[in-house]
Symmetry: C2
Subunit: 317 residues, 2 copies
């Protein structure tokens, strides 16, 4: 295969980002040299996407590149951070130039639309895997932790749920049209960066829904030392989900399917209208799905047998 240097030069050296991107110099040096803005916190996260674990190895390469960055950016969205920079650690088994060009197109495309500068990375031999480190900035008093939820908060989710799991089911059935809304949700998820920025002065806490609503709700509640009561019927289901999976499986996908990359936020009831209005301005819905409580566990979920359920107390209904 081509050397690491050749690969990097051919596909991953976009127009070197300049001072306006906060990059002093360094793409191609031992390190990238970044200029964080004074007074802001730096939010950093890494997510690795592995072929046939996190995405199908035969998915369109543009989607694979896009998605690897999207799932990392979703963590910045959940903190209310503004994306600035990323690094990519790419493991490749073969040097397929056409594949890499499409992969790079997907990755660079989301870099552009999200305002994220690719400032470094490496390429190694191995099973296809993409590790993306993202860095963003947020004013210290506006960062959205998982731990800030308060008793009596409304729990609400952006957009719709279950689309990630529904898209995976469709992929396994042979659907290959990326224009199908569920397949698009699974393979080209939109990190809710604008929603995180819009809600960071209203919400008490947030998390992105990557492992499934119930599992991620558990993380938020554990960090905040609270419980919750959900209205399972209130869950906003992804377009086409009931038609594709049937009603019961659709609800199961929304509760515990994972890969949705929507935001789950905990916010005071008094802020719900304003939050809803702001997201509507972004073309995005915000749906209240329950309230926090001091009683540990999650009550009010009627389904069982789904992933993550063992972490929860069964509810009353």
């Amino acid at each position: 295969m081509a050397s690491e240097f050749e690969l990097i030069a051919r596909h991953f050296t976009p127009a070197t980002p300049g001072p306006q991107a906060g990059v002093a110099f360094g793409v191609g040096d031992d390190c990238a040299m970044l200029a964080p803005r004074p007074g802001l916190r730096l939010a950093v996260s890494v997510d690795t996407s592995v072929a046939n674990v996190h995405f199908p190895a035969d998915a369109p390469p543009e989607a694979i590149g896009y998605r690897a960055l999207a799932v990392s950016l979703s963590d910045l969205a959940a903190m209310g951070a503004e994306p600035r920079w990323c690094l990519m650690a790419l493991a490749l088994n073969e040097d397929d130039d056409a594949w890499l060009a499409e992969f790079a197109r997907g990755f660079h495309g989301l870099c552009r639309t999200s305002g994220t500068a690719l400032v470094g990375g490496d390429v190694t031999r191995g099973e296809l895997a993409i590790g993306v480190t993202v860095m963003g900035e947020v004013p210290p008093d506006l960062a959205l932790s998982r731990a800030g939820a308060r008793r009596g908060d409304v729990l609400a989710v952006t957009g719709a749920l279950g689309g990630g799991a529904g898209g995976l089911v469709l992929w396994r059935r042979g659907e290959r049209d990326l224009a199908h809304p569920l397949l698009a949700r699974y393979l080209m998820p939109q990190p809710r960066l604008a929603a995180g920025l819009a809600l960071r002065d209203l919400a008490h806490a947030a998390i992105d829904i990557s492992d499934g609503l119930l599992a991620d709700l558990e993380h938020l509640l554990a960090a905040s030392r609270l419980g919750a009561r959900l209205e399972a019927d209130a869950l906003p289901l992804a377009e086409g989900l009931v038609e594709a999976l049937g009603g019961e499986e659709a609800h199961r996908a929304a509760l515990s399917g994972g890969d949705d990359y929507e935001l789950l936020v905990s916010l005071p009831a008094t802020a719900l209208d304003e939050a809803t209005r702001r997201l509507a301005g972004l073309g995005l819905s915000l749906t209240p799905i329950g309230v926090t409580s001091t009683e540990r566990g999650v009550a009010g979920v009627a389904l069982d047998g789904h992933h993550g359920w063992q972490h929860f107390q069964g509810g009353g209904e």
Copy 2:
């Protein structure tokens, strides 16, 4: 295998770093929240170490953990940056608790001695590989780029060369004693962080020697648009290298063996004495090995047939 959450909790949640480490909060949140110091540049780099590509899969797990961080920190050393934070993306095939404990001990040990706080990461299934993102800080006017070398500079290297390649040869011959100086050089390389800090106001340019002296010299010269004349006889050879490999192979290992993680610096001749004095204070030698010139290519190297040679013009001797 144990879930990602269990693995992270068991081995990779050291005492959560506090404000003194510049960590506002966030280990276990969607992102870590860091507080870079105002006025400094942020130096970032990622390096992925893959089993049986970058290290033997059956190397001592403590060495594997140590080494994965060391090779990333070496990039900070080459910029003259002070390490602050790191993230680890770990791919594992099996959940061997004893192995992981040793691996974590090696990693955390170098975190401690280098002043690097582990602030996040992820664990995925796959062939053993460790991607480490490091972040450090450096005053803008002191950062050591590859591109700053000037005509007539002295080229000098810290420590000794060839030990990485020599250690690999010994490992393949069955040597397993980590106390053997060459094996230690290969499996437990010491990132030259203190040397980078000590030289950053004296040197014009620096690079760490990971691909081999000639290959990395080429990178530095290309970035600085210069050539060089080397004195191959001046190369400082690692302890035990000639005995292990013989004289010719020892020189070849020093020129192009790679994995040495020493620093190659370009500095004015007038600064050489002071630079040498400072490194001596750190217990480290600094050896002049040549000078830069405006004539492109590297002259003065008598050996040929080694990796990287094709990138260079043959020399005069």
